[in-house]
């Protein structure tokens, strides 16, 4: 349960190299039966996959939509839905190949474009000897790409052109997401071979999306009137509904990342409950300590911060380690969102960086701590905490650099092709009417 467990605990794509070899075995020795997916595991992974879809639609769409002003509600939800759909199409066309293709190195892979060679009979390896159907694995990983690009939009809503968002999404997925997904989850990937602990994608999904949102928000500029003009959320009711859907869906995201319906998934499940609960209350408690009222938005923000932080730790911590991690991440995100962001003055509109970026970094580094057996984690007695923390920090730093550079390139191209920002009168009137010709509420 030490070195080997670190390798397997981190990644949803472990042993994909085995998968590559599977058809060859089948040809060479048809008598030696290829491993057959267990229907229970397959059924759980299919369920987990659609749970992650529910995180995006309607979960994230409602969560983000409620936080925007009423005049931008539909635009926000439409942007999230459209980039998620685009990510699905790109994923089956070449994204899966770039992340999990049969050929490749530490940074990227290739092959299996247009899902060539993927059949109902082909399988993907899990962390044990079991396999799941490759189409299920393709679909599960597809939803991760879709939610990651959707999360980025939290930094740029209420002012970015729809066309610019679509161009940005296609480029960003290609030059940022697929390589980092490969590095984290594929057997030859850089982070995977480093032994970085990342159970369900804290680096590739949350730090990656958070940093991209920050860079995109800074390049795009502030919303007109920010921060002097009040921009309160138009419906915290919908934000609360979205929060609930995200939390429920997150069980597919975290427990699904075990790739089997086994004890590792069970550990991820209980941690996704308790870390999140601790984080929601910790945010409200922080508000009280700062002399404010404990708020609904504070609760929701804490929930998301806890979910983000427990993502890399889900199967890599004991329940009480996860509770600590959730609470620490929540307080850190509060300080960042309520104090640091206003002091720095940039307009990360819905705090995609403040919660996903910051919470992701706390989670990724903290996973190196809570993995330790004396904190209830699954690490062995010889677990080297210092060495692991260095590895975690290296994975975080690499993700930040690639995400920042790739986002700058993608935004620059989107600006050249589309102009990036809506006209000032459209921004004032609202993107619902200006970009989509509809109103959310009549």
């Amino acid at each position: 349960m030490t070195g080997a467990r670190i390798m397997t605990g981190m990644a949803a794509g472990a042993g994909l190299c085995l998968l590559v070899a599977a058809p060859a075995w089948a040809q060479a020795a048809p008598a030696a039966a290829a491993p057959v997916p267990d229907p229970g595991n397959n059924a759980w992974m299919m369920t987990a996959t659609v749970l992650v879809l529910m995180m995006i639609l309607p979960g994230l769409a409602l969560f983000y939509g409620g936080l925007t002003r009423a005049k931008n509600m539909l635009a926000t939800m439409t942007q999230i839905s459209a980039v998620a759909a685009l990510a699905m199409l790109i994923w089956v066309t070449y994204g899966y190949g770039l992340a999990f293709g049969p050929e490749g190195n530490a940074f990227i892979s290739w092959g299996k474009f247009f899902l060539r060679d993927v059949t109902p009979a082909s399988t993907a390896a899990t962390f044990t000897h079991a396999v799941i159907s490759e189409y299920v694995f393709v679909a599960f990983q597809m939803t991760f790409a879709a939610i990651t690009i959707a999360l980025v939009l939290g930094g740029v809503v209420e002012r970015m052109k729809f066309s610019a968002i679509m161009v940005f999404a296609a480029i960003w997925l290609t030059i940022v997401y697929f390589p980092i997904a490969h590095m984290v989850w594929e057997g030859r990937g850089l982070f995977f071979t480093m032994g970085a602990l990342d159970f369900a994608g804290g680096t590739v999904v949350h730090i990656n999306a958070g940093v991209a949102a920050l860079v995109a928000a800074v390049m795009l500029g502030k919303r007109k009137g920010y921060p002097s003009e009040p921009m309160p959320p138009h419906s915290l009711t919908l934000t609360m509904v979205g929060t609930g859907l995200l939390w429920v869906g997150w069980f597919g995201f975290n427990a699904g990342s075990a790739l089997e319906a086994n004890g590792s998934a069970a550990l991820a499940m209980i941690n996704t409950f308790v870390a999140t609960a601790a984080a929601g209350l910790a945010w409200m408690l922080t508000e009280r300590v700062m002399g404010h009222k404990g708020s609904a938005l504070g609760f929701c923000s804490g929930i998301i911060a806890g979910l983000v932080a427990v993502t890399p730790a889900a199967g890599n911590a004991g329940p009480f380690g996860a509770i600590m991690l959730g609470a620490v991440a929540s307080v850190t995100c509060f300080v960042f969102v309520a104090k640091v962001k206003p002091a720095l003055g940039y307009d990360d509109s819905l705090d995609a960086f403040g919660i996903h970026g910051v919470g992701g970094i706390v989670g990724a580094i903290g996973t190196g701590l809570v993995y330790a057996p004396w904190l209830g984690g699954p690490g062995g007695a010889d677990y080297a905490i210092g060495h692991q923390l260095v590895t975690q920090a290296a994975a975080v730093a690499t993700t930040i650099v690639i995400s920042a550079i790739g986002t700058a390139i993608a935004i620059t191209i989107a600006r050249a092709l589309t102009g990036l920002r809506v006209a000032p009168d459209i921004e004032l009137e609202g993107l619902d009417l200006g970009e989509h010709g509809e109103r959310a509420y009549n």
């Binding site: 309160p232 404010h292 009222k293 938005l297 969102v337 104090k339």
Partner: protein, 112 residues
């Protein structure tokens, strides 16, 4: 005829309605309005961003009655809407030149 226009605290609406109907008035018009007077606005905080709203939500009640009833009606509304705290609102009384019931064509006080 008089138009009584009262700007009151929203949660006092039911009390005002009961007081008005107790006087035999059979109709009123209610709107949700915002405004400011001596009452200060509220402070709202979203993820640490503080907004002080200087417009306070109020309810506007409009009732038309005959001249004889006007002073009793004003007093009834005042008592029903009174809490003693700042922001209880105001009552205005205006002269009404003409009234007409659309369905029947009745005019004047019979139209009320």
């Amino acid at each position: 005829m008089k138009l009584i226009m009262a700007i009151i605290k929203p949660f006092k609406l039911d009390d005002v309605r009961e007081a008005i109907t107790a006087l035999g008035i059979t109709g009123m018009t209610v709107s949700e309005v915002k405004g400011f007077g001596r009452q200060k606005g509220q402070t709202e905080i979203y993820r640490g961003a503080e907004y002080s709203t200087n417009m306070v939500p109020k309810t506007k009640v409009e009732v038309v009655c005959d001249d004889a009833l006007a002073s009793r009606l004003v007093e009834a509304i005042r008592q029903a809407a009174h809490s003693g705290a700042i922001g209880d609102g105001k009552i205005f009384v205006l002269d009404v030149v003409h009234a007409l019931r659309i369905r029947t064509g009745e005019t004047g006080e019979t139209a009320l």
